[in-house]
Amino acid sequence: MSLLKVSHLSYTYGHGTPFSYDAITDINFEIEQGEIVGIIGHTGSGKSTLVQHLNGLIKPSEGNIFLDGKDIWENPKKISQIRFQVGLVFQYPEYQLFEETVYKDIAFGPTNMGLSHSEIDNRVIGAAEMVGLHRNLLQKSPFDLSGGEKRRAAIAGVMAMQPKIIVLDEPTAGLDPAGRDIILSRIKQYRDTTGSTVIIVSHSMEDMAKTAERILVMNKGKVEMFDTVGNVFSHAELLESIGLNIPQVTQIALRLKDLGINVDNNIYTVEQMKNSLLKLMGRGQKNA
């Protein structure tokens, strides 16, 4: 049995008004324990709408979401329990910081769970460490942090609840490359140490190539593809037709192939390109 199963999920905004809009229609997929899944799609393709269903913030117009085989809406009164099991980090989460200190802000979630003081303390410190926030920062006001640090503090606020699944909506939007890399590597590390499932929404193919294991491609409210990173990137034309790009290195690899240079097939990170080119050059030397 898969950890998360979404079945025939549809949602209409403003149902029954002149503004009604079908944001997502008939979504089906399953995610296993411990996976890192990426969700990509054009602006307005319904990614944010979809992920807000996963922790019960939006109630489906149609369809069901099963967590551990149980429908999350089975008992609507218990929906807040689901929110502790599926942690959702919103787009630009730094705008939700509100406490006097970073420590208190990270503790907001665990406090709402009704945990003991010592347990809250453990979790706050653990989560801050996980995202790489220095201990000295914990007693500062969250509004005095840099943009990237704020973002990490907000992510820690959700990690501190120790959810089974953590969902991050565009966690790297608006950050510089260094800030992006820190966040992505911390997220990956989080999965490796806790074994939790991670779902990342992103526009950036490079980000996806670096972190995700499987990618779900959304187009106009529907699932276009759900496959391993390599298989998804091999459909360059399809991706381009729905307004998405394959990573730049993959584009270069394809061009090189056209020019008759025999690089490896599935290249989607700079690292892989480097290895493949080195291999080719090595062989060339031997032939000479």
Partner: protein, 269 residues
């Protein structure tokens, strides 16, 4: 919950009412409301109601949108009706119990008041549904022009601009509130249960981020306006000039005729 706020909401349907000059609409709205409240018998009020219905149909906006509006003010209508019914003691007695006496006059007044308030709301709804916030403030600014002679030039413009901005940001603020609420709910914030103090406290995680983002937005907006060389109303021209057309004249004549009729009915009966 927040989605039920329809104030300041523009619904584009391209009806003849939508195309009318906002100044005409505003003046005719005031005129309609005055005459609706002056109507003191069933005939004149009935005429105004029929006229309102015609206007609603002309607006091509779904009936449900108007009903939504009425639903929000239902408590006020009920409250005034009950007060009226209890307070007026003239006329035939219909019902009496302890200190409560309901008379035919009281019931009549209650019905009249409810109908008038509903008409006030519905006619304003037609106006706000059919005019963009910008059009509304432009109309106000233009109608207040005579005040310029009193040396209030910049005051009129500033007021109109402030109003435009406020109206423009109502939906943004609602959206922002919803987003922050969802984000805090995702961290287990509980806003629906507990006593008064607990509930007020539960608002803090929403109000603080909202305040901060509003201030940030205000700075951004001020800067953006300055970058586009905004320096008050003086010498500013508009992209879309308001035009008084033949349709506006026809509408005005129609309103004058209907309102005169209701006045005649008021006097006759």
């Amino acid at each position: 919950m927040l989605n039920d706020i329809t104030f300041g909401q523009f619904i584009p349907t391209n009806s003849s009412i939508h195309r009318a000059d906002p100044r005409t609409k505003l003046i005719l709205l005031v005129m309609f409301i005055v005459f609706a409240f002056l109507s003191n018998n069933a005939f004149s009020l009935g005429l105004m109601m029929a006229f309102l219905l015609v206007l609603i149909l002309l607006s091509k906006i779904p009936f449900s949108m108007y009903l939504k509006n009425l639903k929000t003010i239902l408590p006020i209508i009920l409250f005034t009706s009950i007060l009226n019914a209890l307070y007026i003691k003239t006329g035939a007695e219909l019902f009496s119990f302890w200190i409560i006496t309901i008379t035919s006059d009281g019931v009549w007044r209650a019905v009249f008041m409810s109908v008038r308030i509903s008409m006030l709301i519905l006619s304003s709804a037609i106006f706000s549904y059919s005019s963009t916030p910008t059009a509304i403030t432009n109309a106000i600014e233009s109608l207040l022009k005579p005040l310029n002679r009193l040396g209030l030039e910049s005051a009129v413009h500033t007021m109109a601009m402030t109003m435009t901005i406020a109206l423009r940001f109502i939906p943004t603020l609602i959206e922002e509130t919803q987003k922050i609420m969802n984000a805090q709910k995702a961290r287990g914030a509980d806003m629906e249960s507990g006593g008064l103090i607990k509930r007020v406290k539960a608002l803090l995680p929403i109000l603080i981020p909202l305040l901060i983002s509003s201030v940030r937005r205000a700075y951004d907006l001020a800067e953006a306006m300055e970058c586009r060389c905004y320096n008050g109303g003086e010498g500013r021209t508009r992209l879309n000039k308001m035009r008084y057309s033949i349709m506006d004249l026809i509408a005005t004549i129609l309103f004058v005729i209907v309102c005169s009729f209701s006045l005649v009915l008021n006097i006759l009966f």
